[in-house]
Amino acid sequence: MKKLLSLLVIAVMALAMVGCSGNSAGGETKTAVINVYTRDASSGTREAFEGAIGLEEGELTSNVSEVSSNGDMATKVGADENGIGYVSLTTNFEANNIKPLSFEGVAPSNETVLDGTYKMQRPFMYVTRASGDYASEDLEQLTAAFVAYITESEEGLSVIESAGGIVDYTNAKPWAEIAVSYPVLNQDNSALTIRTCGSTSVEKCISAALEAFQPLAGNVNYAMNQTGSSDGQARVLGDEKDGANAAEIGFASRAFKEEEDVSGAMASGEFCKDAVVAVVNANNALENITASQLHDIYAGSVTDFGDLK
């Protein structure tokens, strides 16, 4: 028993020594060192952020702290004077003690995102099957009605907005006005299914919109199979449009590429925008940051706020 105890004591002391030696090494660094926070690799916000600052996959420094959610990021940066991170634009900055940074000189807000001057943003795009290429006439009408719901109706836009999308209300109309042109909505559609595919980042917005749309459209069913932006066009208009993964509406969290031809679609376009904001602690003096500065911080080549100026 005594031997064991003394062994334990020695183990504790040894560990404490290791801890202390580590401390003194850490103590030499200045207080302006940057603590980098990032989301886990499966996060859509991280994908958008890394895309906007030009950080290649795997280029991220290992010297980061991984947080589990948007709220977690806000809390952690809000508690760390040396922290830098990124959150979605809909985050409550003040409540979390964080400061949104201007990106390339433009302050983030709904207005600057919508007019395109704030660059750390990406469009959420949709594309439908071609006219006449649906399983039934009713399904085509329902698809068209859903597109109208998420692009033109005040109700649909507000659902997307509360799911984190940035929407433009200028041309929005009440849903009741739009619904009259789709008589199919008045019948029982519970035997029909609207299938979606493409970007995983739109999932939150679109599932909220489909959920709200369902009771307005005779309880039509929906099935979401989001696998990535590159499948968005392929599975409604491209080679996979008649395959097992075919869908009525495809989504992409970027503009459709040139080789992704959407001219044949019944409808296609942008339904909302997604913006990411770089944030620091409210006590940090930093106000503005550029893409290349963020790139250097997240790639690990700049590790001190003093080196930014």
Binding site: S42, S43, K76
Partner: protein
Amino acid sequence: MLVNKKRVKRNKSLDKFFHGFFMAMALLSASFIVIIVLFVFAKGISPFLPGYEYGQVNIISFLTGSLYRQDQGIYGIGFIVINTLVCSFLALLLSFPISVLTALFIAKIAPKKLGAIMQSVVELLASVPSVVYGVFAAGVIAALIKDLASSLGITTFGGSSMLAVIILLAIMIFPTLTSMATTAIKAVDKDLEQASLALGATRTQTNFKIVLAAAKSGIFAGAILGLGRAFGEATAVAMVAGNKLFGPTFDLFDITRTLTSTMLAGLKETSGLDYDIRFSVGLVLIAVIFVSNWVLNYVKKKVGNN
């Protein structure tokens, strides 16, 4: 008489029915454990088998690696295992003396009423949900550590650190350790104590040399249970661990990563290999708990013998 016989027969068949019914329930609950283990095992082993759909992972580099980067496809959890062991054992070391002394106080020293109050306080602590501990750790412990670190001139990730994990776990396993130790101390034979007192030993001498020695097997069982909780705690730990991508971490003020926080991070949003590998991490966690329980049981036997 005839009626009675009928009734006896009926009661017997009723008995038989309930016998079978209870047996079925017991089998059902037992089969859950089998199903869970089989499922986790099948899922967790799949990334290491040839022909795995997302590309086979090398099991050696998985078990010994010191970098965990989903974006680069590098999954090494050797350092995470070390981090988990270090955090859990340091938490146990921190909590153990406090718990044993508290238990001794509750069972032997405190006046009856105070002892009862203290015991219910400890039981209350055990019933606090882990996420509440997590919020407390993120808001209070982390802030204290941040201040402590900055007074020493060290920069921390807002207080998220190995030290925060250790203190959090020590608080979380305290009720388990204390209630087990209290039960063990209360179960010590009164004759032993009285014999010691009769021989002229003081109360304190009796408490430490006789009561604790006689109760050590039960106290150790509490330590094993507590360590199990420390290994398995996920939610609260993930809130203050900081999830470092490489390691192992030995600096108390540096961020760390444990097996459970690794399994939890981004679980809802992921798929493919990154999803399946969490089951492999779970398997490793089960193995770590198994081995450390076995070692502690061995130590317990050794300690119990002298």
